[in-house]
């Protein structure tokens, strides 16, 4: 095993900034590719590009930096795979999301408990909204990080996310399953 201290600066910068993000990178890649093998390839390509660029990286916001790299790597990947979709990278992202095998029909007929309604409403969201919710709520990215990977302004992430959650919320009202939800302050005291 090579000792950390023997390593050149790029290597230790890579170890410090990049390696701790592997988990987030893989989750995000999984959202982008909808496929475990492609996700792993995409992370490897991202790591390769990050390694090549690490000496020019200022050390600030490594996750945002890595997500930008991943976005570009993914645009390349999608172009190679489907040359007919080359002009609009966002359209291809949304297109690939539409192909996903979500929306399990079983989920729609289970009893209308809170989580089941949320799941059905989430799966029914148009791809543009679905992607933002998946990145922020499911994968835990911050607004700015989701903006980075989608290549859209933070304000757009925010408005799509909020509108998406509002739709989910409206589904709950229609299904009348939100009535027994404790208040936020009560949830906080119960949770901690």
């Amino acid at each position: 095993m090579v000792l950390l201290m023997d390593r050149p600066t790029e290597t230790s910068a890579f170890e410090r900034h990049v390696v701790p993000e592997l988990d987030v990178l893989y989750r995000t890649a999984r959202s982008l590719t909808r496929n475990n093998a492609d996700a792993e390839d995409l992370v490897q390509e991202t790591l390769l590009r990050a390694y090549r660029a690490i000496d020019r990286f200022d050390g600030r916001y490594p996750r945002a930096w890595l997500l930008t790299i991943m976005r570009n790597a993914n645009i390349n990947r999608v172009r190679k795979k489907t040359p007919d979709l080359l002009d609009d990278p966002d359209a291809t992202f949304e297109r690939s999301a539409e192909f996903a095998d979500h929306a399990d029909p079983e989920a729609l007929v289970v009893e209308p408990v809170f989580d089941a309604v949320v799941e059905a409403a989430f799966e029914a969201l148009p791809a543009m909204f679905h992607d933002v919710v998946e990145l922020v709520d499911v994968n835990g990215l911050a607004y700015a990080e989701a903006a980075e990977i989608l290549g859209i302004p933070v304000g757009t992430v925010m408005s799509r996310l909020h509108r998406a959650r509002k739709r989910i919320r409206d589904h709950l009202t229609t299904a009348e399953v939100d009535v027994d939800t404790p208040s936020y302050r009560a949830r906080l005291t119960k949770g901690s």
Binding site: V18, N36, E45, Y51, D115, V138, A142
Partner: protein
């Protein structure tokens, strides 16, 4: 419920709270506004209940996270390790 007169608990109206509620729950607003929202929620049952529903939606979605397979993570770690050891040709444009 019909509001017969304007109230501004915490210095914000209910409408203003609804505007920023989701950002508040996500921790994406400034500390000053967050403080006002917190005091509003302490005093306004309607908004507190609404915040409860949104917070529960967020937790419900968060439970959908599939854990990253330990094997995949190990293989990505070893890929990183090989990169750092110079065992991978970094000049290749692609890995396929």
């Amino acid at each position: 419920m019909l509001k017969l007169f304007k109230r501004k608990p915490g210095g914000l109206s209910c409408g203003e709270v609804m505007e920023v509620l989701q950002s508040y729950l996500d921790g994406e607003i400034d500390a000053e506004t967050a403080g006002k929202v917190t005091s509003h929620l302490d005093l306004c049952v309607d908004c507190d209940l609404e915040a409860g529903v949104y917070d529960r939606i967020r937790s419900s979605l968060a439970t959908r996270t599939e854990p990253v397979d330990a094997g995949v993570l190990r293989s990505l770690e070893s890929f990183s390790e090989r990169l750092m050891n110079g065992e991978i040709d970094t000049n290749g444009v692609d890995n396929d």
